[in-house]
């Protein structure tokens, strides 16, 4: 069972308090009606399924009840960092720094 640091609670908490919520930084288009079917399908269905550094969302459902973002290495399963919803995707250099 992983330990996950909730950026709102600012604590490491056991995985069973959390629920996975898919890939992060996929923003719902502000005006979906303006999109063609291909672009809409891209938003709706297409995900990266990254091997390695993956940006994803978690939901502290049995804690503070907030969604937040995380960077996790899908090979080692290790969380590299977590950050609050709305913050920009951390740059590669930031990730590299934390990994150090």
């Amino acid at each position: 069972m992983l330990l996950i640091k909730c950026p709102y609670c600012e604590e490491e908490r056991p995985e069973i308090e959390f629920s996975y919520a898919g890939e992060a930084h996929i923003v719902r288009p502000t005006d979906p009606s303006k999109m063609d079917d291909t672009a809409w399908a891209e938003y709706l269905f297409i995900r990266d399924n990254t091997r390695g550094v993956h940006y994803e969302r978690w939901y502290h459902i049995h804690g503070c009840a907030r969604f937040f973002n995380a960077v996790r290495d899908t090979i080692s399963d290790k969380f590299i960092m977590t950050y609050k919803m709305g913050l920009p995707r951390p740059a590669d250099v930031e990730i590299a720094k934390v990994k150090e």
């Binding site: 308090e17 049995h62 503070c64 009840a65």
Partner: protein, 203 residues
């Protein structure tokens, strides 16, 4: 409550009967079901906290996971914009007024959830053990000090946990999960009475 129109009394039933092994007062402690209480879920933007505190005269804790305990009234900060207020019935009317005023003055959400949850007191030296039978958090005093509170899990139930004293925890759970939770408490205490896990083999 008594109806003016019919004069008929509707009785309260919290729906949980605790096993005697939980309520028997022993030196290692046990579990009590708290009588009916008033509960409100209070939501507002975190930046309004000072203003809301002033307007409501409520002792709203500033940090997530902290609580204020004053008389029969608890306020728990469960998330960035979420506070849970629990009080005994004596303050019911006053609180109703407070929150009516608050709702009119601030952008917020006040929802009465008095009957949604039940409250238990888990107490005594065995309290941490009862809770750690199903709750994965580290409840040692230096990690989970008096006053700390959080939503978490106890096996298949979601609970809210508040440490009121070294050997006293307040546990909130949704009504329909309460019998399951109390049965789990019961098993924990029964097993604890039967065995001394980790005990040294007497030669």
């Amino acid at each position: 409550m008594l109806s003016e129109k019919t004069g008929i009394h509707l009785s309260i039933d919290q729906g949980v009967r605790l096993a005697p092994i939980l309520t028997n007062e022993t030196e290692i402690g046990g579990v009590r079901l708290i009588d009916e209480q008033v509960r409100y879920s209070l939501r507002f933007k975190p930046e309004d906290i000072a203003a809301v505190r002033k307007a409501s005269q409520l002792d709203l804790p500033a940090n997530i996971g902290m609580s204020s305990i004053k008389g029969g009234q608890l306020v728990l900060r469960l998330g960035p914009d979420e506070w849970l207020l629990i009080s005994d019935l004596s303050r019911a009317l006053a609180l109703k007024q407070t929150f009516a005023t608050l709702s009119s003055k601030f952008t917020c959400s006040v929802v009465d959830i008095s009957h949604r949850n039940l409250g238990f007191i888990v107490h005594g030296e065995n309290a941490e053990n009862i809770l750690n039978t199903g709750c994965p958090l580290d409840l040692s005093l230096h990690v989970f000090p008096v006053g700390k509170c959080t939503r978490t899990v106890y096996e298949n139930t979601e609970i809210i946990l508040l440490r009121k004293a070294e050997h006293e925890f307040h546990v909130e759970v949704w009504r329909s999960f309460a019998p399951y939770l109390s049965r789990f408490f019961e098993t924990s205490v029964t097993d604890k009475a039967q065995i001394r896990m980790g005990a040294r083999d007497d030669k």
